[in-house]
Symmetry: C2
Subunit: 393 residues, 2 copies
């Protein structure tokens, strides 16, 4: 639903007071007609809608009784534990994705990319559940689905056909996961992932937890395929812990190659892991976006879907303290997210989607560092949350 | 002011429903008399008052116009920049410390240790300001002052005499700072710090940012002096980044020696620095506490004085995900803080101070991971904050 709205007395990105006119759901430079609905911003900062670039809507445990976590330390422990818990509880992707998406909207996210598990146990049930939520919440938030082989692709025969089925059902993006460490066949895994992407004309978003030189090797293979297929701007490497390794002789060429190949990097600002150096990547011209990853799920109890808090965590992880550095953290959850995910009509220019979040902060830096609550959120000219509470049930 | 209070229907540490009886400000096992004031906990979790074990009350910029941060990257840049800004603004320690302490109380802290700058420019003005706040807020929160040579001790002649004056005025604890990296004379610095502590019969709390082997060396010198003076239980090493170095051949003996010497470690859970391994320290018997460090000051824009959020950040930094691991993070901001700071009457046993924070969470793990707001805080039997708002002006 595209609406008309005059947003009065806001400070775009913390700048001077301005009015923003949204017509048929899009920013326009034309003068507002008399009688247009008005939202009084009261001097709050207006940011473009926040971009949640990496989460897992299908498997949050929000709204369920507290899940006592006793999972083992390895990645594989968490993957296997999750499959067990998913069946035992059970977790309903339709219900859980709507709960989490609503939480996101209340914090100001107007676009969500969700990886959704596809495997030989659940098939495409997760995809179908999140797609139903996408339809139900179409007026509140845009949701982009990544068909994600969480339990492995080639190591679980049958998964590739299910990924293809997920794309046919309506998932936008082809997912991948640790080509060496989990799938044990980096060439095979990436040929399969990029092969699907090529056949369906879709983007790619790969979970790359692999550390150090192993991760760097997988990243090289991703870069090679991105170049070969001319997929600049359509590939995201999520997590990319290997970029946090200290060896500049390995990292420097990777950073340059990512920039040249037009590959974006997604980070959660992980405090306990080597992490992509956000400032350095951005200075080199790499697009960086951020995500909550799992929110209160079987992997861990953290997360609240607030992308300003995520910007803060990215800032803390990257030691961003100066106002000019906090602007980078803010970019990661706004413009960087839009560029990484290929959202074309993003921003303040005429014609862009009328997606805004109003934040009671003095400066954009304060919005990141202090993440004030009580936000008002506008989606395509419609007020979907007012002072922190969703206006749509 | 010590009050009587019956706290009904709370779940201590997330356990079974119970009533807690506070008499003359202290927990008692005796049955409550008729007519005693009642606080209905409504099934919320009751935690002992949170312990803010390391902050800088004298120099927050809370309540002031946003400070545009453009500080340089080195520790020394931040120290020098702060002295400049302090005079230029100016920052009033009395006013700022009260603002921050009230913020702390609203989040459930009932005890605060504040390092307070002492140097040849400001003298003991910071100490006097924070002491005035301590007196003004005596019914809300206990405040412990560390006389802190932020600008160096031996490198700034005259500072040692000012530290001594600060102790005479009423600061409890002797502070220190990077004996090698800042003061350029580790033996001289630590002899001076521990000498003061010995003469005045006080504890020691040393900022040790020094990384790697340099920090390990300074830590050895601290351990030697703690042993020689029989100061087990009275020394805290704050930050202790060197314990985050990867070389087990250096770290393992240090951890064992800290445990044996009875030295506590304070961490903020710093995401961008090597950090003390909290779980490993606690398993080795080292007491670990946590602090906000500076809150919205010239060093950086972060921080909100919420020690449950700090526990979350410590959890994220240390990859604590399981419920039994989150219990460690909670311990760090409660019992660990009390042990590190020598608070004897802390906890639920009869005779302990009636200091509580009620949190609307299902489990103690949720209280850490999700840090619910709207807390009710009790100090010595008196309700000082109700549902997130201070009841005392």
């Amino acid at each position: 639903m595209a609406a008309d709205l005059l947003v009065r007395s806001v400070r775009p990105l913390g700048g001077d007071l301005a009015d923003l006119h949204i017509r048929h759901g899009r920013i326009t430079a034309e003068p507002p007609p008399p009688g247009i609905p008005v939202l009084d911003g009261g001097g709050r900062i207006a940011l473009p809608g926040l971009v949640e670039a990496h989460t897992h809507l299908d498997k949050s445990l929000l709204g369920l009784p507290w899940h006592r976590n006793a999972v083992g330390p390895r990645l594989l422990d968490k993957i296997e534990n999750e499959r067990r818990v998913r069946q035992a509880l059970p977790i309903d992707p339709r219900r859980q994705s709507e709960l989490q998406a609503r939480l996101s909207v209340g914090h100001g996210s107007t676009f969500i990319r969700s990886h959704v598990d596809v495997d030989t146990e659940c098939g495409t049930a997760g995809i179908e559940g999140v797609m139903a939520t996408r339809e139900a919440l179409a007026d509140l938030v845009d949701i982009d689905l990544v068909a994600f082989p969480q339990s492995g692709l080639l190591v679980r025969p049958g998964t590739l056909a299910l990924l293809e089925q997920a794309l046919r059902l309506g998932a936008e993006t082809v997912g991948g996961l640790d080509p060496c460490a989990i799938d044990r066949d980096p060439k095979g895994h990436l040929d399969a992932v990029f092969g699907l992407a090529e056949r369906f004309g879709r983007g790619v978003d790969i979970h790359l937890h692999e550390p150090g030189e192993m991760g760097a090797f997988s990243m090289e293979l991703i870069i090679e395929r991105t170049r070969a297929l001319g997929m600049a701007g359509r590939v995201v490497v999520s997590h990319a812990f290997c970029l946090g390794m200290p060896d500049a002789a390995v990292v420097d060429p990777l950073v340059a190659a990512l920039a040249e190949a037009g590959i974006a990097v997604m980070t959660t600002g992980p405090a306990s892991r080597p992490a992509p150096p956000v400032k350095r990547l951005m200075e080199a011209g790499v697009v960086v976006c951020a995500g909550s990853d799992g929110i209160r799920d079987t992997w861990g109890p953290y997360g609240n879907a607030d992308m300003l808090e995520r910007a803060m965590l990215v800032g803390l992880r990257n030691n961003l303290r100066r106002d000019d550095e906090l602007a980078l953290a803010l970019d990661v959850v706004t413009t960087g997210g839009a560029r990484a995910l290929g959202i074309r009509d993003y921003g303040r220019a005429p014609g862009c989607a009328g997606d805004l979040v109003l934040v009671a902060a003095e400066t954009a830096a304060e919005a990141v560092a202090q993440r004030p609550g009580g936000r008002t959120v506008v989606k395509r000219g419609r007020v979907v949350a007012r002072d922190g509470a969703l206006t749509v049930t």
